[in-house]
Structure formats: C-alpha cells, structure tokens
Symmetry: D2
Amino acid sequence: MADVKKVVLAYSGGLDTSVILKWLQDTYNCEVVTFTADLGQGEEVEPARAKAQAMGVKEIYIDDLREEFVRDFVFPMFRANTIYEGEYLLGTSIARPLIAKRLIEIANETGADAISHGATGKGNDQVRFELGAYALKPGVKVIAPWREWDLLSREKLMDYAAKHKIPVDFAKAGKKSPYSMDANLLHISYEGGVLEDTWTEHEEDMWRWTKSPEAAPNTPTYIELTYRNGDIVAIDGQAMTPAQVLTELNRIGGENGIGRLDIVENRYVGMKSRGCYETPGGTIMLRAHRAIESITLDREVAHLKDELMPKYASLIYNGYWWSPERLMLQQMIDASQANVNGVVRLKLYKGNVIVTGRKSDDSLFDANIATFEEDGGAYNQADAAGFIKLNALRMRIAAGKGRSPLN
Amino acid sequence: MADVKKVVLAYSGGLDTSVILKWLQDTYNCEVVTFTADLGQGEEVEPARAKAQAMGVKEIYIDDLREEFVRDFVFPMFRANTIYEGEYLLGTSIARPLIAKRLIEIANETGADAISHGATGKGNDQVRFELGAYALKPGVKVIAPWREWDLLSREKLMDYAAKHKIPVDFAKAGKKSPYSMDANLLHISYEGGVLEDTWTEHEEDMWRWTKSPEAAPNTPTYIELTYRNGDIVAIDGQAMTPAQVLTELNRIGGENGIGRLDIVENRYVGMKSRGCYETPGGTIMLRAHRAIESITLDREVAHLKDELMPKYASLIYNGYWWSPERLMLQQMIDASQANVNGVVRLKLYKGNVIVTGRKSDDSLFDANIATFEEDGGAYNQADAAGFIKLNALRMRIAAGKGRSPLN
Amino acid sequence: MADVKKVVLAYSGGLDTSVILKWLQDTYNCEVVTFTADLGQGEEVEPARAKAQAMGVKEIYIDDLREEFVRDFVFPMFRANTIYEGEYLLGTSIARPLIAKRLIEIANETGADAISHGATGKGNDQVRFELGAYALKPGVKVIAPWREWDLLSREKLMDYAAKHKIPVDFAKAGKKSPYSMDANLLHISYEGGVLEDTWTEHEEDMWRWTKSPEAAPNTPTYIELTYRNGDIVAIDGQAMTPAQVLTELNRIGGENGIGRLDIVENRYVGMKSRGCYETPGGTIMLRAHRAIESITLDREVAHLKDELMPKYASLIYNGYWWSPERLMLQQMIDASQANVNGVVRLKLYKGNVIVTGRKSDDSLFDANIATFEEDGGAYNQADAAGFIKLNALRMRIAAGKGRSPLN
Amino acid sequence: MADVKKVVLAYSGGLDTSVILKWLQDTYNCEVVTFTADLGQGEEVEPARAKAQAMGVKEIYIDDLREEFVRDFVFPMFRANTIYEGEYLLGTSIARPLIAKRLIEIANETGADAISHGATGKGNDQVRFELGAYALKPGVKVIAPWREWDLLSREKLMDYAAKHKIPVDFAKAGKKSPYSMDANLLHISYEGGVLEDTWTEHEEDMWRWTKSPEAAPNTPTYIELTYRNGDIVAIDGQAMTPAQVLTELNRIGGENGIGRLDIVENRYVGMKSRGCYETPGGTIMLRAHRAIESITLDREVAHLKDELMPKYASLIYNGYWWSPERLMLQQMIDASQANVNGVVRLKLYKGNVIVTGRKSDDSLFDANIATFEEDGGAYNQADAAGFIKLNALRMRIAAGKGRSPLN
C-alpha cells in the first residue's frame, strides 16, 4: 500500500464516494481534499460541501465546469465528427480528461501527492482518469478503492456506511435505479440491470432526458444553427456560449425524441458491454456539423478526416485525450475547420434529425458547375474522357496481361 | 471518332437512350445491341424490346439481374458497413459495376467492339461504367454520347427525336419529373431542379418510395433479421433470397418512413453536388449489421474494418469495384464475417430504426465478465492497475522530462 | 500463487532457464516438461536433454522447427515488406508466436495446465509468449519467474545455481557476453551493456554473424532470386526449401557485410530501448521482395499494402500474431501475392544490396507505353490534359472562392 | 487552341525549351516571359539569358531558389521520413511545386495569362506543374507543347531548330546522354535508354554525382548532424543554412558512394516506369532523421506518422503539394517536430550510412528504466502481468467460445 499524505478525491456526494472518502481517511490515514464538478449532470453540487465538511474535509473544491467542458472538450471532439464503433458519441469518455485535469490542478494547489476516484476495475473510466493523471503529473499516486477494497457488493457498502455513520439518503438509496448511470451536459448513460442480457429490450421508463419518439410532438420543430470555425455559435440567429448551445440543443432534442441509443460496445479493458445513451444535443450536432462541412470542406480533407476519425475516437474512448498523438491529430482537425462557417437548417421530428438546408459564404458548392442544365463552358465534359482513360490505364494493362477481376 | 463495328448500349427504353440508339446508328454507322436490365428499379423492362425492334435492333438483351445485384454487390458492400462521406449508402454506385460487367459479357458474346451508355460527362456514372468496362475488356471502345454530341438541352433532344421519328411517350415526357433520377432495388435518387440551391428545402412530393415520418403508422413495427456470415438470410424467421430480403425491407422501411436522405456530396470528377436518396431497406440493414457485429466481432477486427471503410466506400463511389485493390479489401472483409451469425430485433417507427435486441450462438458478449455484480473471479480487477501503468509509461516518462500536454 | 500441476517450460539449456526449471519444481512443487527448439539459433539443442534429465524431467521435447519457422512465419511476414519503425526487421518478434504455439501444443499433449518462460518483465517477449498462449488456450496458467522471484541479479542467480547443484558451464559463464542476446534463423540481437548509452558507438567485436563492410570481399557477389507467390523458391536457379533459402542468404549476406543495424526502438511495455541486430538474409529479402513486387503488383494494391504495413508490423512486434486482426490482414496480404512471381538479380557488396534487374512473366511493366520514344499510339498524351483538369477542379473552385494555399 | 496574350515559360536554356519558346511565339502569336531557376542542378543558369534575348524575350527571370527549395520544400518533406513506394526519395517531385509557384508569381507580376513547360504527356511532371498552377491561379491557361505539337522525335525537334535558326549547342547535342535526366539539389535522375528493359543492369558510367561504393574511400567518414525542430542546422557543429547543409551532405555522401537507387515505380498517369536516382544527401538525411526521432519522439506519434507517410508521399509524388490535404498533413507533421532536437553521429562508408550514436536534451530514452540491471524500482515488473492479461482478454473470451486462430 502506497504511503500517501494527502489525496484529492473526485467526490460526487453520493453514497459510493462518501464511503470512499471515509475509507481513504481510515485506510491511508491521510488528509482528503474533495473535488465536485458541475458538468451539467443535472444534480446539485452544493450539497456535497456539507457532506464533506461533516466528514472532516478541510479543502473542498466545487466547480462549475460546464463552459470549459463544452468549449475545450465537446466542441473539439465534434469537429472530427467523432463516433466510436459507428454509433457511440462518447458522452462519458469526453468528460473524464477534464476531471483528471482538475484533480491534478487541485493536487498541485493543495500539495496533495495522490488522487482517488470511484470508478470500478472493470470499466474504461479508471483508465481515462489515470492515464490523464499520469500524463499531467507523472509521479502522482493513484488510489482506486474498487480495485483494492473488499466492499464489492452493495450490502457491504451499506454496512460500511452504517458502521461509520456515513449519512445515507435512505429515501434515495431505497429507490435506487437498477442501472449504473453517468451524466453530463453531453449525455446520460445506463448500464447493468436487465441490459446485461443483450436480447432483452431496454425499458421505456429507463430513459430520463428524452421523450420517446411516440410521445414527442406531432409537428416538427425547425432550427437554424450558425457555425464559425466548425463550432456552433448561434441557434436561430441568437448568439450563445458553448454550454448554452448544448443546453438548448438538449432541450429541443429531448423534446423531439432525439438521441436515444442502445448498443453493445467494446471496452478498452477487453470485454463487450451493453450501454444505453441519451445524447439529444450531440445527435443534432453530429448531423449538422457534417452538413456544414459538406459545402465548406475540400473533398480530400473531408475524406482524410473520415479515415482518421475511428483512430481519434478510439483515443478518446480509451482515455488518451492528454496523449501527444491526440494532441497532434487535434491540430490537424482544428486546422481543417478554418472555413467551416455558415448556417444549417434542421427539421426535428419524433427522433428524426433531417437536414433541409445549408448555406455559407465559404461554400465550395458551385451551382454553375454542378448544374444539369447547360453551364456555359464552366466545365468541359470532354475532360472526363482523359480522366477516365488514365485512371483506367493500370487496370487495362493488367487485363491486357490476362489478369481478370472475375477470376 | 473511333471506328466501331458493333456497340452494346445500356438501354432503358426511355427518351434519352432511344435518341442515343438512333444517334449511334447514324453517327457511327454501326450495329447496335441493346441491353436492358431489371435491377429492381420498379419499371417494366419488356417494353424496351419493342422499341429497340422498331429501331432495327437485332440483338436485344433483357435481363432480370435482381438476385445477382443484391447477392454479389449489395450484400458484400454492406458487410463493410459502407457509407460514403458519413451519410450516403451508395445506391447508385453499387449498381454500375454490374451493368458494366453485363455490357462486356454481351460484347464478348455478340462480337461487339464497343459499349455505350447514357451517362453525362459531369457525373460519376460515366466513370463507373467505363472503369469497369476497361478493367474487364481493356481494348473495348467506349462511346459516351453526352461527351460527344451537341444535343445538350432537352429541346434539342426532343427535336432530334421528332426529326428521326423516335417514338416519344409524350404523356410521360410532358409530366417529366423536374429531377434527374436513378432507381434500383437499393435506392432511388434525385438530383437537379430546386435541389441545385443547397439552402432550399426538398419538396415533400419529390419522394416516391417512402412515406414521410409524419404519414407513417402511429404504432411501431418489430422485425427480426437472421444473419449468416454477415448477410441476412431470413426475416422474422422466414428464409428469403437476397433480393427477397431487400424487397421486403424496402416495403417495411418505406411504410415506416425510413431511409430518406438529403446531402451535398463530393463527386469524383471534382465538384460538389446535392442528392436526395430513399434507401429504406439499406438504412435498416446498416443498423442491423452493426448490431449483429457488435456481439460477434472481435474489437480490433471491427476497428480495422472501420478504419478501412472510408477507403472502401470511396473505391465503390469512384467506380473501382473491379479494381484489384477493391478485390483485395473484399477478401479481408469477407473473411471477417465468418462468425457474424445471429438475430437482430428492430423496432421501426416513423423514420427511426431502433435496435432492441441481438443474440447469437457466436456471441462474444460474456455477461459473467461484463456484469456490475460480483463475477466470481472471472475478471481480476487488480490486473487493471498494471494495464494502466504500462499504457501510461511513455506519457509519464515524457511528463517527467518536462513535456506537458497543457502547453 | 497459482495452483499448478504440470508446467511446460521453454528451456534453452542455459543457466537462466536451468535455474527456472529448478525454481519451478521447488516453488510450485509441480512436474516440469521441457521444450527446446532449434529455430536456427546456431547452437546445439541436444545438450538440453541431458541437463533436463539430470534435473528429473521426464517429458522432454526437442524440436527442429526451422522449416516451419521460415515457411509459416518469416515468409508470410516478408510478403508485407514488414519493418517496425522504419528499420527493424522483427527477427525476435516473429519467432515468439511459434514458440507459444508449441508450448500450448505440448501442454495439450502432456496434460499440462501451465507454461513458463524466461523472459523478463520489462521486455516485449513476455507479452508475445503470453498473448499467444492465451489466444490458443484461454485457461492456461502462465508462470513468468522473472516477474515473481527475487533472483534479480546475476550473483543471486549463480548462488541459487550453486546451492541447488545446477550444472553451470563455468567456462561459458565466465566469458559471458556483456549483451543480452537472442538468435534464430532470421537474426541475432544484442541489447544491454554499453548499448544502454545511446551515444556510445557499438563495438565491432559485438557482431557475431556478419563480416564488417570493411572486412567483406572487394569484389561483389551477384545472385538471382526466384519468387513464386511472393516467396523465394530458388537461389541462382536452384530450388530450395524456405529454411534453406534463409540459411543460404544469411551465409551470402553475412559474407558481404550485409544486415547490421543499430537502433533505438519503442517497446510495447512503454520504454525506449536500444538494440543492435544482424539480419543478413532478411535485409536481402526485403529489398528483393520490393523489387519483384515493383513489376508485378498493381499500384494501388502496393500502396494499400504500404499504408497497412506499419499496423501489421506493430501487431507482430507487440505479440498479436495469433490475433484475429493479424489473421485478417494476412488474408489480404497473401491474396495480393498471387502474381508476385519472377526473378530478381542483386549485387551484394560490402553492406550494399543493389537491385540490378527484375523480370517476370507476370510483369505489368509495359515498355511500349513507358518508352520515351514514340509509342505508336499505345498511350494518348492528350488524355493527360483532361486527367489533370478534373483532378485540379476542386482546387480551382476553392482558389476561385479566394482560398489560397499560400496563406 | 486557347487565346493567349502572354505566357510564362519554364525555360532551361536547352534545346527542348528553346524550341518550345520559338514554337509558342509562332503558334500562339503571343509574348513569352522566360523563367530559369537555379535549384542546384549544377548547371549555369545565366546563359539562358542571352539565348532568351536572342529570341526576342523582353521579360527574363533568372532566380537562385536553392535556399527556398531546401528550406520550404525538402526539409518539410524529410520531417515525415517520406519515401515513395518504399524506396524513392522524391527528388524530382519536390522541386515541381516550387517551380509552379514561381511561374504563377511571375505570371501575376507580368500580367501573363498562361504558363508553359517542357514536360511530356506521359510523365508525372506535367501533373505536378499544372495542379500547382491551377491551385494557385485557377483561371490560368496552361500550354503543354508535348501534348499539342507533332515534334515527337528528336529528329523533328532538330529540324525545327535548324529551320527556325534556334542556336543549338551541337557539341553538347552530339554527345547527348542516352538518358532523360533531371537534377536539383536533392537528386539527379535517369530514365529511358537501356533502363527501359527492367532486367538490364544500369551502366556504371551513367551515374554522375556519386562515386561507386567500389571507388569510394577505404576508410570511413564520421559526421555529426545537429537537429532543431526536425531540421538539420549544423554539420560537425558548424551552423549552416538549409542549402548549405544539403550541398555539404551531397558532397560527403557522393564521395562515400552513398545514395544510388535503381527502381521500377508507379506513375500517377498509370504506367510503371524505371528510374535511377542519386540522392546522396537525402539518403543520409532520411537515416539520420529517423535516428534523432527515435530518442525524441513519442511512440504513438512516431507510429501515426509512419501510418500516414505513404499517403503523404503519394500526395507529393502525384503533384498535390499545394492541395489542402497536404497542407493539413503538414501541420500535423510540423507540430510533431517540436522536440526533435539533438545530435546524430553517422559513419559513412562505401554506400553505407551507419548510425553510431544519437543524443538529445529532449531524449525520452530513460536508461534507468530500460536497463537490464536492477533499476531501483523505476519500473515495476509485476505491472506487466495485468497489462498482458487485459490485452489478452478479448482473445481469451473468443478462444473460450471455441474460436481458434489455428483453424
């Protein structure tokens, strides 16, 4: 067991991390600093203060990180049209590096030599927290109680809480969700419970943020999103900060039944796992960003981004946000967005995000060339013959030597 | 102008290719063989016979290629979860290599030295037809009338038809769609007309195959798709041929408002162009295929497929189906599907394709390892510490030497 | 500590693995099966039998794996022109999966429930052995003494040997190389000692297999290599088995001062490490294989192979030979070699491998098209204008809208 | 034929471009501006002035572009360890975009509406010149005489010269090399002649820049190269400009028999072609750059660079230097070089470039961790067990479900 003087704990104020807080004090006999962040999870963060104080914590950090989260993490990720395994918008993954960064900043401010978190030893989050922490403070000690202690069932945890007089919100504990959940401004996730059978349909009352498509309004909602350098800066012409944008898109999207997802994904630690996600704003943003890029981005730039995207997505999913390779890719992605400016019009209706228009002063769409009508010489159709002939040459030579693609 | 003895024409029976037929006879003073294919476009192909006969064609080919189309082209493509530029399911692109192949087969059978088609000099289809033809018969001559003649407006075309007594279905010509369209069993596409302004919303009455989400039924439809080696072999337990599968999925999907798309895409010949597509069955298949792969495919195999997919999609879009590099990629893709067997359950509702379950005898999902409950030792959480430590090592060394990801 | 009944040990007969043998017997109180392989390392393997018998081993496997090694591991790898980090020919990496496979085969034959090896906890070899073993026998137990015991210095090891009466070849032990070495038919490697300072030049007397370029003959040696499906099947017209080919190329290459390498590489476990390698035959094979591919392989197939090669090399380096993604890539690579037939002529001189000719019945080199002389119409230079114009179109449109690559 | 007022001609002063000059004046009846560049080809550029004047040219540009060439083109390319098709160092390719840029700059300065060059219709250079020109000035007209005129043999060219009194250096013309050659500070190339048979050995007296390995000194030369941000800034401690560096490395390399290459490559226009190249300085730079990166670059950054390199090399080879995708890749490449500082020591001997040492204040090589000796706890060998276990997990699960890599 490591010798620890002071540890910064990512503290939600809930039962699990309260037990961890106590367990750290007792087991490591060290001082604990708590850090509680508002990332838009939709729960009050202030109550964590009193709980921490009650357990004798002297240094308590409670931060509203919503703007930083969207501006420096969510938006950069969406510039790459990032999706993990064709479906997942990385709602949990993208919040972890910010928490890791704050844990280390606080450790540096308070002179702590360790950090601790409540992620289990089976999941991706432990990796994301710890890779981030090590990249930012290589000598930091990491305490991951779920990998160390023996409180591996809920009963043991409750017993521990009772025995150590940790205040448990029993009302809440009693009606605990059967799911393991995580939420921030980008999404809310559900794992465990009946989802552990991949054939069982998810339950309608599991979802918390979105209306079902069935329950969504019968008339569509139209919105216009204004982009500057690949980021949304206004909705329906009204300028907004990044967190305002995402909050509003979550509201509109959720209202229209948008952004539910039920998948089986591959964890970095090696097993498959089923997750359900609600990402209303993100689902809208992905579609809209592709639409604005479709008229402003060069073809080969767009294709290169598409080819690198799965790699970039895996880096984020696996916890490598603070790695040099993610930073290098980001420079390329950001550079590609210089001309990604303009407006996208969307129709939202019962789960559907339908692009109905896109325009830009930086549009590369040239109606004069693309037209099916006569173009007055803007494009010389005869050029196509030579283009095809030379592109075919290597295949013609091969076929001439007897190689056939039909064999 | 090339010296041509006999040319095989891809002949639809419509006005454009009828004019081409006549123009070839007059301009090249050569014999014309017509080839008309049923690819599931939803129009009768037999009427083309009488029209061709009326213009003196002696060798007339009319083929039902629907099964071959889905079995050898559509299904192999879907094994790769293929999407061009994040959105387009390649409905037009994937039909062209089959037509090219048949043109060359017929040329070989009839002793023709040339082929001809009705694609314009601005589009991708000319490239797809001709690259395929050259790869299969390197010495073939290609006549692309739209790149050669001066009948570049509809009026000139009508005049030519009238002057040469080409039978025009004036009723049909009169109510001609304002869109340039293409259809086969995978999709129907629309280009031109009001779509040439990227900001103008597409018109509701443009769509021909699908109900709108608004008009779709208010109650969802559930279906179960059975996969063998990555291909659908049964719907709701009933065995079907490839073309039957796609026909039925088009029916169910269209009924439920699924598969509409409005995008701006990058053509191989260099310009951006707007297209609207209805791909009801394909939209269902993409989602379902990812779902069955999610439980049966190894993580790294899935990721490698995802990284190569954009390249594979571009090859198909650009007309390189018969190239050696597409064939090489296909071998890898097909090899990956050996264990992609099982059943996917979907809920279809007003444009939404919602995965609600997936099961397989070849599933790699291990509930015992993935569970949030105690797993009886199936997974040793302590392993994660070493896993993270070594993955972090290079970043820790770098940070220890003063490199910070925050600079 | 795992409960082990019988363990198969990769046993060289040297001091280290002899100590391991004894330590396994004592520590795990289990039966030990020894496995000693001739992979072309140039040392007798039979002496291992008597040593094992002296320590009471009843089941002793001594295998000549040279042909299998080259045929099923080295040759398939060279089909991809595989190089790790631009320099390293993977001589150690490629032998490990074969050893892992034999360990598991022997475990299955002898009813052993564990395997053991002498690789340290800092290197790549432990990963390669164990990933292979787990992929082939998922429930196998692995004992890696260097990660478990406390005999971490040479003195402690010698003490242990003395105390347990393990026969040590003191003559040999006394003049022990200052380097950590590994050899097989593909290469011999050196690590440690003075090489741990990256600025210190390697010592001339370290090298064991090759003459120095200075000491190599003053007249060049010419050889002709015959390829079939990407593999060498004859040298100077004389048919040879795979192991014969590599043995002979090692001889010729070594004689001519070919194949020395001094690099700093990145280990999978996270640190940089310096290695020196002698790979005379492999260095020749890499150059020659590229030469035969240069006239027989399609351009895009060659480029796709080049783009995937670094990934493939990392898979082998990191120990993923038996992974599904390596197997999938291999199918593509092997498929690409169908026409890689012909002859390459090389000039070998004082460290240089110079290609002086290549010919093939499957050559795609068309002198008639490539010629600088008049080609009689084989290639129409006017086609190039259209080819360039359409390839430039997207950039012209962008420039026309004011985007400049000079900004 | 285009209507041209004034054309800028890339003019070498030799026979071919002198004929082109005259032919442009006569055929297009337009004013010609000549542009002659010193790119380090080793021939006087000033004589071009008198020749151009003699043919009535009023605007004559003669530029020494050597520093710009190495600083802005060669060095950036070497930051990526760029090689085309595993062998070619892109000596010709990398000079073309600079010439294209100057042609357009001069066109803008002189009010010319066209450019012209002496590249043939079969090669890559026409593509490189013209893609560059179009990207920089989209409306420019391009005249490529070799694609237009009928002077396709040397005899016709000589006749034309005689008839139009174009001064021919008959002494030089008489002893004309049998090869088509191109030279600049990075390399000299040879094509055509006996090289058109891929089996014929290149002739020793073809080579112009380098000694043969046989003729090179019998004692090695040691040099030390100092890097800053991935570029060489000093040789043996003496600061030099980019062009000085390359000039000096060419001298030393050529003296030591370094940098000859004989390959068959795939041209962008579709055929295979044999080329011989001398790149003495570049061959040294490639090796040395990898060596300095080996101690200063993060592993994953290095691997990502390696994976993207073939794409980047093709972009340069194919003429896309001024494309947005090359520029985007360059930003990533340049960003990766921030810490590529230090010194590499090389031993040059009869064609061999041998790395004997590398050191850097930014080295990530940590002898304390890499050592085979006891490391005092810098690295915990036990971590490796968990690392391997989790990396093996997916394969163990698959094997447990009956999937075997041996089937």
